[in-house]
């Protein structure tokens, strides 16, 4: 068995070698070369993190002691390993996809630069995840942020891209600053920058400091995670990024934000206050709702997926928030469930969002447009891409047997179990947020029915969409891999949940994995509410409930506390999938049997008898989502840009023009007020420089006096 350190050394060596060798490789060979080295490095990462994740035994290494400051050190515990593993899962198919998709950049942009940035980003991300002290963490974080900016701005010829990149960089830096402040508050208390010292100093922290750390890190890291109200950069950056890079933004760097939040608020400074958890829960729910509303009404495939990332980030945050509250209320088991749900959703979102972005990128590449109003009918021209996109869409809609279902179901279950909390106010917040998330789930279905139906079904609504051809093997392989992952994570959650619970065990304060896991599967020593008889009852019906997981089992059981009514919610995605497959197979067989002697006539769609059905007679994406726009008018607040009628000879209408503009809620409520306030301030300051020399001397004198006064006072 290879040592984890050796795996990581190989990984960093590969990245380093790649960066050094990149300038020597000819441009045209870069796509394949990058794909090779990127996927190999990802495999190495999977090996390294998998070992820690499954086998246990954290790996750590002191790197360098900076005299008088701190010791830089690396550490890979289960939490780091989990995020590294997810990063590997996304980097692997994306690297394979790069082999085909990068070719479109040949002769336009430097592929050497891309390879360097790509590998450097991979290394920086891993460094962020294994950094074990504040200094190296922030260093790696900065590197990652800057590399992200450079990659977002890769197609730098268009000013729109550069603007979006700058916005992203600026907000990221502000977020990083806030997060660093949060760390520093902890570090001051601990007198050290190293994580273990921070962890041990946490217990003595006062309420004010706890609030400060929570708010600073939550919103600081929330920038990367895409939480309302600090996410206005996200749709802009996602929509302009190269199609190779967007899956990484959504599937990897978004997770880093959550890694930061979890590392600080679960691992280093476990939550003892209820209110911050509620803040997280509410912010998460609002993010989810706002995200899905804008996703549903947006017709640009990439932007729509970006808004949907905000929605998923919201769901994850809501799960985390619930976990915080449960932790603070000393309900470690419930906290465990909530955190498991959040972590599971992080994994799932990475997988299906990467898949959907690959699909969207492929459609963009093959048709030249991402506007759903101009697409349509691609299922006949690009059947494999369509199938992969459909899997992703079903998964993100939280439909079984795919993975989104498991984590959203767990999240909602966790929220429902707030009934076990004592405070009525907290229960009400939970109930409202649960309702909000349920609405989100329903809107998500609308959103992705629209995305799939308008993109792939019906008739092509523009000439390029009618001439698209299927993409090449590299992309298909990577999409197939991710689609299989969606299915596997959905069907076999019982293999994943114990791993997640072990990951969380140190953070939630529950000593061993056993203490957390059994409530799902069996009555634990601490939780005797689940009667033994019931457990054995489950054994009898074949769903062996217990620790010794056998293949073919996939039962997720949650029980509601309370000695009086140990109601058991049981749901097995594995059996569900089996039954679904059986139904589909049976239907197919019956239909075949019934129709084997008949000739099947395939006719044109019924069109009401019109002479010829034209594409402009079919629903557009705008039309499909318009009911949502009308219902949530109060949130969208559209402004009418144009509403004119053109008439000739008094009565003959020749044109009716209508256009409405939607400014994003966050832009309207946060960005624009901040912007105008800043401009007002700048104008006020500008009044100070009106250029008289006497005044400038007076300013100097005044500031000198001020400093002196301050010095005297202190």
């Amino acid at each position: 068995m290879i040592h984890t350190g050796a795996w990581l050394s190989v990984f960093f060596l590969m990245c380093g070698a790649g960066i050094v060798l990149a300038p020597l490789i000819p441009q045209s060979a870069h796509p394949r070369w990058l794909a090779g080295i990127g996927s190999l490095a990802s495999l190495v990462l999977l090996g390294a993190s998998g070992k820690v994740l499954l086998g246990g035994g954290a790996w750590s290494m002191p790197l360098w002691t900076v005299p008088g400051l701190t010791t830089l050190s690396l550490n890979m515990d289960r939490l780091s390993a989990l995020f590294i593993f997810v990063a590997g899962l996304v980097f692997l198919p994306v690297s394979i996809h790069a082999s085909t998709s990068l070719e479109s950049y040949l002769k336009r942009y430097s592929l050497r630069a891309f390879s360097v940035l790509y590998l450097a980003l991979l290394a920086a991300i891993v460094l962020v995840l294994i950094a074990a002290d504040v200094f190296s963490f922030m260093l790696a974080w900065e590197a990652m942020s800057i590399l992200c900016y450079l990659l977002v701005n890769y197609e730098h010829e268009r000013s729109e891209h550069t603007r979006s990149g700058y916005l992203m960089l600026a907000i990221s830096e502000a977020g990083a600053l806030a997060a660093a402040m949060g760390f520093l508050i902890l570090a001051v208390a601990a007198g050290s920058l190293e994580f273990p010292a921070l962890r041990s100093a946490a217990a003595g922290l006062g309420t004010g400091a706890r609030w400060a750390v929570f708010l600073l890190t939550f919103f600081g890291f929330g920038v990367k995670a895409g939480l309302v109200p600090v996410n206005f950069w996200l749709p802009r950056a996602y929509s302009v990024s190269p199609s190779v890079f967007v899956p990484l933004l959504a599937g990897v760097t978004l997770n880093l934000g959550f890694y930061g939040i979890i590392r600080v608020n679960v691992d280093l400074l476990p939550m003892t206050l209820v209110a911050p958890g509620l803040v997280a829960l509410v912010i998460g729910t609002i993010s989810a709702l706002v995200g899905i509303l804008y996703a549903t009404t947006n017709n640009d495939l990439k932007t729509m997926l970006a808004h949907s990332s905000i929605e998923n980030a919201g769901i994850i945050t809501a799960g985390l928030g619930a976990g915080f509250v449960f932790t603070a209320c000393r309900q470690p088991v419930l906290a465990g469930i909530a955190f498991i749900a959040a972590l599971y959703h992080i994994i799932n979102h990475s997988v299906y969002k990467a898949l959907l972005f690959l699909g969207a990128g492929t459609v963009d590449e093959r048709t030249g447009t991402r506007d759903l109003d101009k697409l349509g009918g691609l299922i006949r021209l690009m059947p494999w891409t369509a199938a992969a996109f459909l899997v992703g869409a079903l998964a993100i809609c939280a439909l079984p047997p795919f993975n989104g279902f498991v984590s959203e179901w767990l999240t909602l279950q966790a929220l429902l179990r707030s009934a076990e909390l004592s405070s009525l106010a907290v229960r009400m917040v939970f109930a409202l947020c649960g309702a909000g998330l349920a609405l989100t789930a329903a809107l998500a279905v609308t959103c992705f029915v629209k995305a799939f139906a308008m993109g792939f079904l019906g008739m092509p609504r523009s000439a390029p969409a009618g001439k698209a051809v299927e993409t090449r093997r590299g992309t298909l392989v990577s999409m197939g891999f991710l689609a299989m992952l969606c299915l596997a994570l959905g069907v076999l959650p019982t293999y994943v949940i114990p791993v997640l619970s072990r990951t969380l065990a140190p953070g939630t304060g529950v000593g061993a994995a056993n203490a957390l896991v059994p409530p799902f599967f069996a009555g634990s020593p601490g939780h005797q509410q689940l009667p033994r008889a019931l457990v054995t009852g489950f054994h009898k019906i074949g769903a062996q409930v217990g620790e010794n997981i056998l293949p073919g089992r996939g039962l997720v059981v949650l029980h509601r506390g309370g000695t009086a009514n140990p109601v058991v919610f049981a749901m097995s995605t594995f059996y569900m999938a089996a039954v679904l497959a059986g139904i589909v197979l049976m239907t197919w067989l019956i239909v075949r049997r019934l129709t084997c002697r008949r000739t099947v006539r395939v006719g044109a769609p019924w069109d009401g008898g019109v002479h010829r059905l034209r594409p402009d007679m079919t629903y557009t994406a705008t039309g499909f989502s318009n009911p949502v726009r009308v219902i949530f008018d109060a949130i969208f607040r559209p402004t009418t840009v144009e509403d004119t009628r053109q008439t000739v000879a008094q009565h003959f209408r020749t044109a009716i023009r209508r256009e409405k503009e939607h400014v994003h809620l966050v832009d309207r409520l946060v960005l624009q007020p901040v912007k105008s306030a800043a401009l007002r301030l700048a104008r006020g300051l500008a009044a100070l420089h009106h250029g008289r020399i006497n005044m400038y001397i007076a300013y100097g004198l005044l500031s000198l006096l001020l400093v002196l006064a301050l010095g005297w006072l202190l």
Binding site: N299, V610, H611, D616, Y619, N626, V630, R653, R658
Partner: protein, 526 residues
């Protein structure tokens, strides 16, 4: 103002350019003017003198075109016919539809069927002959076109498409029909929408065009009567009456008094039945099933009443120029009146119940509003116009049969919405029942038929059909056959105005607007 006043004013304005002659036999006043003056005169009549536009009659004489623009106003004034003549090879005429917008579709029809061109009309092209079925250049109403032979070689333009005018991001055209919903007549609608709310709706008609005007040419008046009676069965009696009256004007005969009273009696029976059917349609469109069933019961009872009284449920085969084909028994008429009285009582009860059904009213009120000004410029007729404050009831304005002998009122509402149209239908149904009773009481003994000779000549026939003013122009040639039979039915006018009521509406209101507009495709697609 009578016709001499009119001619004085004309002479003052246009000196000798306009020639005017009244023909008492034809009961209308004809003013012939050069083509250039046409828009000016039309504007003068329509905008200043408050005349209504009834229709455009195009005739192809052997040597020249004769275009007659029909106007009518009040009881004292004869209908005015503005006549424009031009040589056959000059096919361009000025359009009057920017001022008299009611002429819009008449001009489009003339363009489609005769190949005439109307300068200033922006929307000529696909109308009666569908451009996705027929090539350009087919002019079926010309004399040389053989009505009996089908046109085998047809190469229509494959890229033809219905024009769309809404320009909004994501706008699309929702096609409805021609084959749609259970029992609708064949018509196509293009709803332009961005989802949810429909911005504009354009009907595409004439799927059922049967070329009545063309196939009538050269047939005997007896045969054309069959066509007049059968092109729109729901107002069959009205159109046959209009034809018969035109024949009687040409022949210079008047039907005997008993026939006139019976005609009024049956015409009002038809109106009552039609209005009940329209009310049933409205109740059905709002999914008020019990009310719709009750109305359906009434309608079937009225159909049976007609069947028992005349032998035919739709009153076919009864009218003939000069009177009626057979007499009706007085006893049967009395029984019919008694039955009508009962039906009216139940109708009133339903009206009261509907007025207290808020869910029903909610769906009708402020739906499909047509303003008074629009209703007038678009030349709407019948109950639809009366609901928008435009009252011009031919039974009062240009009385025929013995309508002036009966007392009745023409109801009027001004809101112009679906509920106003509903109230008009109820009020008119009550008036019809009252006229039936008066006519039944006024029945005198006597013959019901005077022989009506088929003389050469031309005349205008009109009738207030259940859906509004219906005009027809009949020309009998020297050999006693029909040379031109021009139909100007009320649905043609009202379909043209439908788009006024179908702008910016919620999709679920569409059936309701259609039902309250009470349109017949068969009557329009003659």
């Amino acid at each position: 103002m009578n016709s001499s006043d009119l001619s004085q004013q004309m002479a003052q304005r246009w000196h000798d350019q306009v020639r005017m002659h009244t023909e008492p036999q034809r009961s209308c006043c004809e003013m012939e003017c050069p083509a250039g003056l046409l828009p000016e005169i039309a504007r003068w009549l329509f905008a200043e003198l408050d005349y209504s536009f009834a229709g455009l009659i195009v005739e192809e004489d052997p040597a020249q075109w004769a275009l007659r623009y029909e106007f009518h106003r009040a009881r004292e004034d004869a209908p005015v016919q503005v006549l424009v003549r031009r040589a056959l090879d000059e096919k361009t005429f000025p359009s009057i539809s920017d001022c008299v917008h009611a002429a819009d579709w008449h001009e489009r029809e003339a363009e489609d069927m005769f190949g005439l061109l109307f300068e200033g009309h922006p929307r000529l092209g696909d109308f009666i002959l569908h451009d996705d079925v027929w090539p350009e250049g087919v002019e079926p109403m010309r004399h040389q076109f053989n009505a009996q032979r089908s046109v085998p070689e047809r190469r229509p333009n494959p890229h033809w498409r219905l024009r769309r005018i809404v320009q909004a991001p994501g706008a699309f055209a929702m096609p409805i029909g021609p084959v749609f919903s259970g029992l609708a007549e064949s018509v196509h609608f293009q709803l332009e929408t961005v989802g949810e709310d429909v911005i504009r709706c354009v009907p595409r008609l004439f799927y059922k065009y049967r070329g009545i005007e063309k196939i009538a040419e050269g047939r005997s008046p007896e045969d054309v009567l069959l066509l007049a009676e059968r092109f729109c069965a729901t107002s069959a009696f009205a159109h046959a009456l209009s034809f018969s009256q035109a024949m009687e004007t040409i022949g210079g005969v008047a039907p005997p008094p008993r026939a006139r009273r019976l005609r009024v009696f049956l015409a009002e029976l038809e109106r009552l039945r039609h209005h009940v059917a329209a009310l049933e349609g409205i109740c059905e469109s709002t999914a008020l099933t019990v009310a719709a069933s009750q109305m359906a019961l009434l309608q079937e009872e009225l159909l049976r009443l007609g069947g028992a009284l005349t032998g035919h449920r739709y009153l076919f085969g009864l009218l003939t120029p000069g009177g009626l084909r057979c007499d009706l028994e007085d006893g049967a008429c009395r029984r019919a009146i008694a039955a009508t009285r009962d039906i009216l009582r139940r109708l009133r009860q339903l009206e009261k119940m509907l007025q207290f059904s808020s869910s029903f009213l909610d769906r009708l009120e402020e739906v499909g509003v047509v303003g008074t000004k629009d209703a007038r410029t678009h030349g709407l007729v019948g109950p639809v116009a009366r609901a928008s404050g435009v009252v011009r009831d031919l039974r009062k304005v240009l009385p025929y049969c013995d309508y002036e002998a009966f007392t009745f009122e023409t109801p009027m509402e001004s809101e112009g919405d679906g509920y106003a149209r509903l109230r008009i239908l109820f009020a008119e149904a009550a008036q019809s029942a009252s006229i039936m009773q008066q006519a039944g009481a006024a029945l005198c003994a006597g013959p019901v038929h005077t022989p009506c000779p088929s003389r050469p000549g031309a005349a205008l026939g009109w009738v207030e059909a259940p859906r509004g003013a219906a005009f027809c122009w009949l020309r009998i040639s020297e050999d006693g056959q029909v040379a031109r039979y021009r139909l100007m039915p009320p649905s043609f006018a009202n379909w043209h105005g439908l788009h006024l009521a179908t702008e910016n509406f919620a999709f679920q209101d569409f059936p309701i607007i259609l039902a309250t507009f009470d349109l017949s495709v068969a009557e329009n697609d003659r």
